[in-house]
Amino acid sequence: MATTITKPETLVGKRIRRKEDPRLITGTATYVDDIQMPGMHHACIVRSPHAAARIKGIHVKAALELPGVTAVFTGADTKDVGPVPCGASLPGLRVPHHHILAVDRVYFVGHPVAVVVATDRYIARDAADRIEVDYEVLPAVADPEKAIAAGAPAVHPEWPDNVAFHFHQEGGEVDKAFAEAEVVVKERITSQRLIPTSIETRGVVADWNTGDKSLTIYSSSQIPHLLRTLLAMMLGLPEHHTRVVVPEVGGGFGSKLNVYAEEALMGFVAMKIGKPVKWIESRRENYLCTIHGRGHVDYFELAARKDGTMVGLKLKLIQDLGAYHQLLTPAIPTLSVLMMPGLYRFKNIRADIAGVFTNCVPTDAYRGAGRPEATHGIERMVDILAAELKMDPAEIRLKNFIQPEEFPFSTGTGLIYDSGNYDLPLKKAMEIVDYKGLRKQQNDSRKQGRLMGVGISSYGEICAFGPSPATPAGGWECATVRVDPQGKVTVGTGASPHGQGEETTFAQIAADELGVDLDDVLVVHGDTAVVPYGIGTFGSRGTAVGGPALYYALQKLKEKITKFGAMLLDSESVSYSGGCCTCSKTGKSVTLGEIAGASYRAMKLPEGEAPGLEATYFWEPPNFTFPFGAHVAVTEIDRETGKVKVARYVAVDDCGRIVNPLLVDGQVHGGVAQGLGQALYEQAVYDDSGQLLSGELTDYAIPKATMMPWIESHHTETPSPVNPLGVKGVGEAGTIGCSPALVNSVVDALSPLGVRHIDMPLTPEKIWNLLQGGQQ
């Protein structure tokens, strides 16, 4: 139960219900599809039914003849727009030209080919059905390992090997470590393609003002300002005549951390027809055309001594990129490499990535973005090593953790872990589940023929993206704090949230610093005409980078407030606290409202100060943050059906200082649900011809309420030294920690049968086959 708490109590650290909720629970919030404009048209996109084909002709006459149809555009009309940008750069990266509508060839099922614009949503759809496209179907390849095999069809004819890039990273003395190792375990581990599935699909409304020659794009996005910069570039518009408004966003999970063809296409259409135009993605389109996540085939080798000391790790990583690079596509597997040593001390590391084109929709950042894959790999390998050495999985982890006195710790992949106490969450989780008791219970249940498993995952993550040199487009964040003449506070943040609750957490931070009520602070975001340039919310960076930007803006503002206070009280000995400036000698005080009023009336100004009460701060983080934690899953397998029952799930997460425990719990629960979805249920399945078989919610199993266990969420709180708030970020923790805990648990349950690894998702069918003595 949460309560609304107001000053003088400190608000940071309290379970406070959200300020954004009243509009969301009453149906009065505005998402993109809720926007109506006079004269607004509707767009429907014609998409390729083939994964690879030449376009021989597009027949649009029948569509144009339908009353209500305003225009049809094809790739011939839009070929000078764009291309759809790739923000990541790697040495030797091959970047296919990504037109917003296919020009002469299509590369994946769902590839946009034409757009119909009509006065009504239904007419646009009718007209789209009247467009006929002549295709010459070509051979396609949908599996990354098949794509790099000899004789595979070329996704892009100019690069017949289907390799977009090779990336090598090495640290320490890998060959020596492996030569001297007493044991080496190897395994092929996949992280299957996933579909992010925000419940709100993507959507765009574009509005062109012919007089001003200015374009406003309303889009369901995680990155309003970056979107503005890149759209202006794609459409050849000056950026100051381009405005992006991100209204309420119905979930993103990385899928809206992008710049999509349709965003530029709607801008193009609006400029052509001189009327506002709306496009709302259908669920089918969302599954076919919005980025997917993961898509790894990983070959791991882990070297160790017989006492369980790990000494080196090798990884060959095959990344399924899909047909194009979206905004960050090639960068995602490099994050896996950075994170591959996990929380362990060894520094001998070698990774080779092959980024592979396939005739599928591109992969890109999905909750965790490279780090769940890495964590799944190392945490599976640690369990495989423990099984090989007949050691306890907890014991082997505790033996290899970097210890508190070793921080700051330079990893073999070039990171500097700033702080950590990795024993802490694991020992806490073991205590909560009574680990020894569980193992005894497991022994007893095995004697009864039951299949019970206990799985541990100790994860670390890189969050708060990030220092700008380590990011493709700047990793700082900005905040503006404005006190109006009434003394009420408006905070503007560039870290545009989409469900994370920053309208509340940022208000808590501001209210504490300024000593005002929570209700006296309004947090605004998402409109490039309203807030200064910012980067966005992704990579668990909202509070961890946006929060410190706000903190420093508040300090700057408090200096100005104090100067006005000193002037009004005619005293040098003035301090600001509890919403008032007080003179320590006379005890007299002036309120923030009085100071604000005086600052705008400006009858008199402190020396060197300008009128008004406002401060803006752009904060560059000196490092990433490194949250960590331990998750323990207890499972039981039904022998008859192969179904996994999660009997208990304990998460102990260390995300640094907690601003609002209620919201952190929510992030952990949601993160675990997505990790559990990957571990047990979800998989984007393409057939050999590149048709997406899991193309609807009927065929792609995101967890329902009945599929989720009760999550016991606990925390340790080790403040981050990187920022003044001590926060680290928590959005992705649950997802990263969950899948290895579950798979380790199920493999543990099946270990008496000689099972050593199972690839996700752990479907009943796969497990039932294993129980029959067959292959997964």
């Binding site: 629970i25 599809d33 979930g251 629960h669 919610l697 995101i702 309420a705 009945t706 649950g734």
Partner: protein
Amino acid sequence: MKKTIRVTVNGISRNDEVEPRLLLIHYLRERLGLTGPHIGCETSLCGACTVEIDGKAVKSCSVFAVQADGRNVLTIEGLASNGHLHPVQEAFWNEHGLQCGFCTPGMIMASKQLLERNSNPTEGEIRHGIEGNLCRCTGYQHIVNAVKAAAAKIGA
């Protein structure tokens, strides 16, 4: 050919001419401006469009507007009365039963229906009762808490 429908929406009686193929969700959202119910899948799987017809929760993306002829429709916008939130709305707020909020109007309508059928549901009954409504943000746990809290409030 258009059909005339008489329908009462959130207590207000209306007469409208609609195409027979117009979906109820589009009628509510685009004709009446009731944008609380959302469209998440158009195939009755996600439940974001859930509204009540004559007191029964339905997925309005799979109902034609003409099927609502002569009936009473209640959307999320009609749930609060005289400025007072419905106990289910209040409980979702108190228990942090939502994040992005997109599934929330449908989830609240489904939860209200569940409590009308079973005033004191167990955790399992709650999970079963909202199984037709998908949420990708919360992992459902705070929604379960919200429904429990609403049950306690309504029963008190």
